[in-house]
């Protein structure tokens, strides 16, 4: 009898405990869908991280202001949970696990390939879709079914710029790329594509853009090889400094500016008069796309700055995800959501960068514009269609 009493007591205690723990979870507001972000928010790459986050926040705020979305007859709003990983893959993993544990986001955005690669090891088990913001096609090689990638591959982004340089009659190229991982890849990309055209690489002087105090020794070496053009790949401001110093040293040739060199930011450091003649990627703010122009205006109002490529792509991807959820009629079945994505492209007036196709690897295709800087002015942006490139090289091409 006594035993029975005790058993009843324990069971009822467990019930109360269970109610306390699991009860409120059931009545918790199921109408909010959390969206994860893990990327740099402090340190040297803080600005880059914020640019990424801006796009996500812009989209979420807009959707929420319109009352949210309806999926299978139920109303949902969104909330962005942003965690700082200081650009470190190990922190990305910790953040992702924390997000999954506490907030159960169906989507996690991450803007660096190291972090994305780390999350790809467990995202299918832990059930979340990654938007990997990187131009490194290596993340597509993992074969994850729950991965999308909006920026196109580095090879494609630089091919248009290289073509323009070639058309300018430049033949002898010199490499002065950054020594970071992407810089090393850009170096090989330039070399491979330039030689494919029939060009020649006369010298190579890799420089750590973040650490070099003076570029004269590097440029002296490069200019001694008498190149027609110099390939640069690295953060915009140091790239612009290299151009200034090269002109001081009497270099009259051209610059082929890799996709990391943002022309609008370079212009603040070095006048266009000195940058020309050059070929580079058209800044997002100058792209002649009406939807992009509209987005620029909205972005200016909300954040007080012209949107970057990071902001625009993440904004559009956030809309692609919401449309896919609506189409799939579920917020939890991620495979269904992934399967619905190709059907919702492009996402109407939110397709600011014009994503129109998703490849089987999860690569989104959109276009970009290359442009020339000649006689101290930006010239008309030239539309570069991704389809021929992706047909020829595929989504996972990396230079050998």
């Amino acid at each position: 009898m006594n035993r029975k009493k005790r058993l009843v007591f324990i069971v009822s205690l467990l019930c109360i405990f269970g109610l306390l723990v699991f009860g409120p979870a059931r009545v918790a507001p199921a109408e909010t869908i959390n969206i994860g972000y893990t990327g740099p928010l402090s340190g040297g790459a803080a600005k880059y991280g914020r640019n990424n986050l801006e796009g996500q926040e812009m989209a979420v705020d807009e959707i929420n202001a319109g009352g949210g979305i309806q999926v299978a007859g139920k109303q949902y709003t969104f909330k962005v949970i942003a965690l700082d990983d200081r650009y470190r893959p190990a922190d990305t993993v910790t953040n992702a696990r924390r997000l999954v544990e506490l907030h159960k986001p169906p989507f996690i955005f991450c803007p660096h390939s190291g972090g994305i690669l780390a999350m790809l090891k467990f995202n299918e088990q832990e059930n979340f879709i990654i938007h990997g913001y990187t131009d490194n096609p290596a993340i597509l090689l993992q074969g994850s079914k729950l991965l999308v990638k909006a920026p196109m591959s580095m090879g494609f982004y630089n091919a248009g710029v290289i073509d323009l340089g070639w058309k300018n009659g430049w033949r002898k190229g010199a490499l002065l790329c950054g020594t970071h991982e992407a810089g090393k890849m850009a170096e090989k990309t330039f070399e491979t594509l330039w030689k494919e055209q029939g060009g020649e690489i006369v010298t190579n002087a890799p420089a750590d853009y973040g650490k070099v105090t003076d570029y004269y020794p590097y440029l002296t070496k490069v200019l001694a090889a008498k190149p027609d053009c110099i390939f640069l790949y690295g953060p915009s401001e140091p790239s612009a400094m290299i151009i200034s110093q090269a002109r001081e040293l009497g270099f009259k040739g051209g610059f082929v500016l890799g996709s990391q060199c943002k022309l609008d930011e370079m212009e603040k450091v070095t006048p266009l008069k000195l940058i020309s003649p050059s070929t580079g990627v058209c800044p997002v703010g100058l792209m002649p796309l009406p939807l992009m122009q509209e987005y620029s205006k909205k972005h200016m109002e909300k954040f007080g700055s012209i949107p970057t490529s990071e902001s625009a792509f993440n904004y559009e991807v956030m809309y692609i995800f919401t449309e896919a959820m609506k189409k799939a009629g579920t917020t939890a079945n991620l495979n269904k959501i992934m399967a619905a994505i190709p059907e919702v492209l492009p996402v109407g007036k939110h397709a600011v960068r014009g994503i129109h196709t998703m490849t089987k690897e999860g690569q989104f295709l959109s276009g970009y514009f290359a442009m020339e800087i000649a006689e101290g002015k930006f010239t008309q942006p030239i539309d570069i269609d991704p389809r021929p490139w992706y047909k020829k090289y595929g989504a996972t091409w990396v230079p050998k």
Binding site: T213, D214, P217, K221, L249
Partner: protein
């Protein structure tokens, strides 16, 4: 030949900046007995001061540089008084950790106040001279000349004035100096003021040919460490010779062999010198 001369000139320019930073570091080492890791952060602060004075207030470059040097001297004194002096009698490890803490305070402070962007100093002395295929800009000539002037002034100060003699005495033997009636606290203050002012001068000089950003101190301070170890810890001529040596080696190895191995060559010189003279070029036994 023109290429060789150009690379040597590039190296001398680079060496001037390295020497100035290393000089401050070696002076501070003489009294702290640990390398002041925060020296690079103060270099960065000097660059921002000069930048803001010259752009926001529109001051003349030289005036901006001198005011920034004075301001940094004051900050150096404060750092010594608030952070290092209370740790003077503790284990050197405490000062060591405090120095690392200071880096975080300065670099993250700059990041929050000025933002992560690279700032471009308006180019001032832009004249370019060319002869026999060699190019040099006025700003670069100025860097070298001002460095030499500052080095001579520092030398005169240490060798010819009583205050300078007390610095040397304290660096050689703190207790002995104290017994001779030298106020060690005063010497520490003066050394920190001098050291940070020199760092600030280096930063101000290099700012017009470089970019100003929160992380700019890191790479320079790393080189300065190599230099003071190479030249002998605490040695003033060692810091000067070591600085120019490293600048020229870096420039020539980059120009003739490969720019990818810059660091390999500078550290290679260090390893070679230490293998032959473990105390560095001018280090005492």
């Amino acid at each position: 030949m023109a290429l060789f001369i150009q690379q040597v000139l590039n190296g001398i320019m680079l060496g001037s900046v390295y020497s100035l930073v290393a000089l401050g570091l070696t002076l501070e080492y003489g009294i702290l007995h640990i390398p002041n890791f925060a020296h690079g952060a103060l270099y960065m602060a000097g660059a921002y001061f000069t930048f803001l004075l010259a752009t926001n207030l529109g001051l003349n470059f030289w005036l901006a540089m001198i005011i920034a040097m004075a301001a940094l001297a004051l900050i150096g004194v404060l750092v010594e008084r608030v952070v290092y002096r209370p740790l003077m009698l503790e284990s050197p490890l405490s000062s060591f950790i405090a120095a690392i803490g200071l880096i975080f305070i300065f670099v993250d402070g700059a990041l929050n106040i000025f933002g992560p962007d690279f700032k471009r100093f308006p180019p001032i002395h832009t004249d370019v001279f060319q002869f026999l295929g060699v190019t040099i800009t006025l700003q670069r000539i100025i860097i070298v000349v001002v460095t030499v002037v500052l080095i001579v002034l520092l030398h005169l100060f240490i060798k010819k004035t009583t205050v300078g003699a007390t610095i040397e005495a304290t660096a050689q033997d703190r207790e002995g100096a104290q017994l001779m009636g030298i106020s060690v606290n005063r010497v520490r203050m003066i050394v920190f003021a001098l050291g940070t002012a020199l760092a600030s001068a280096a930063a101000a000089l290099v700012a017009p040919i470089h970019l100003v950003y929160p992380g700019m101190g890191g790479p320079v301070i790393l080189k300065a460490f190599v230099i003071i170890i190479l030249g002998g810890m605490g040695s003033i001529p060692g810091a000067i010779i070591g600085g120019f040596m490293l600048g020229v080696v870096e420039s020539l190895s980059g120009g003739y062999i490969s720019t990818s191995y810059n660091e390999v060559f500078s550290f290679g010189v260090l390893v070679t010198v230490l293998a032959i003279r473990p105390t560095g070029l001018f280090g005492g036994k």
